[in-house]
Symmetry: C2
Amino acid sequence: MNNRQERKLLTRQSLMNAALQWVEEGQHFSSLSIREVAKRAGVVPTAFYRHFKDLDDLALNLVDELSLVLRQLMREVRQNRVNPQHIIRDSVQQYCQYVVSQRVFFIFMSQSMTGGTALIRQAVRSELQYFAKELVADLQRFSLLPNLDPAMMDVLADLTISTMAFATVQLLDLSDASTQSRQDFENKMSRQLQLIYVGAANWKRKEPL
Amino acid sequence: MNNRQERKLLTRQSLMNAALQWVEEGQHFSSLSIREVAKRAGVVPTAFYRHFKDLDDLALNLVDELSLVLRQLMREVRQNRVNPQHIIRDSVQQYCQYVVSQRVFFIFMSQSMTGGTALIRQAVRSELQYFAKELVADLQRFSLLPNLDPAMMDVLADLTISTMAFATVQLLDLSDASTQSRQDFENKMSRQLQLIYVGAANWKRKEPL
DNA sequence: GGTCATGGTGCACACTTGTTCACATAATGT
DNA sequence: ACATTATGTGAACAAGTGTGCACCATGACC
């Protein structure tokens, strides 16, 4: 047979995909069992232990995959940036499309933010933090919003991420998948972000607490 | 013995409390079993069926309880409103305090937004919708933000709720419970909401999409 | 006071779960 | 070529799971 490492990575991937399949079917990750994931991966239960200590371990590796997915998302959105007049609307549209195409990862992310072990929540949160940091970097790179001091910049980034994250949950749950309601949703999301950035643009340094 | 109905309500409440206890211990609701909840309620497993069809049924009733908790929260915050100069900061502070005092309900809410059955997610979401509606009503009652048309008013309300919901998740997870980090958190949350409402105040009707 | 419905009990069943252990098989290193 | 070591197998166990059933005690009702 082929290289042994490759074979190992292959079944390992099978296990991770099996877990994702589980959450894609609407089940919660925390109700997944070792036997179930093994069965779906077409492997005997005990083989699981050759790859992961337990399901939390597997989840952490899924977060790593999620991390890659998020980074690619950022790259794509950054590259396709064209007209600065429509940054928000265009970014939102691309974002939504990406979420739909990578649905299962974002479901997993949503579940893990409130679901898993403290460690897993921590891991997901730190991914989002990274996202926020990048956003701040972008805003500074183009010298947008010079009226915001660094602290407010962080607040703005966190708020942006928070809004996107919550919107993502709703988008994933959008039962009516018609083009119309998708469009409505994107409009609403754009409006929300616009509201935030109008606020940022009009922020005065000395705003009281 | 006492009235039979009372007795029934009592064990029913025991079951619901047992479920809450489970999530309070950091477990996810979806990994709760009938036998476990029965054991914690000090009752035999089959007795469960005298009160609920299954665990989803119980969860729905928990959402009803959650509903009451949320309504009381609104009432409290509305009553204690004093200085309009500090509405946001004061409301945030009261809100955070309430979340901490009713911790378990908000954990359950967080879990259920991304966790449970479609039906349960729906139920929780509709509670939040109600919250948003009330917020809009308040804003209109005091004729604040007359520059916003009804559609933008809804956007603003949704955004507010979204921000609060996401912040709640973080607050519940705040490992460091020191007064200092609590204070920092409340400040950040206040800043975020201020940003939003500065945006709302400066919103022009004709803002492009 | 006798009947009945209600809510709780205990047992039973078949099924799933995590984890162990001895074993097979085939790629790898020498 | 041979010994080793990594990966997957299968049986086995004790524990936990949902749920059906017969039962029983007792408050409710006429």
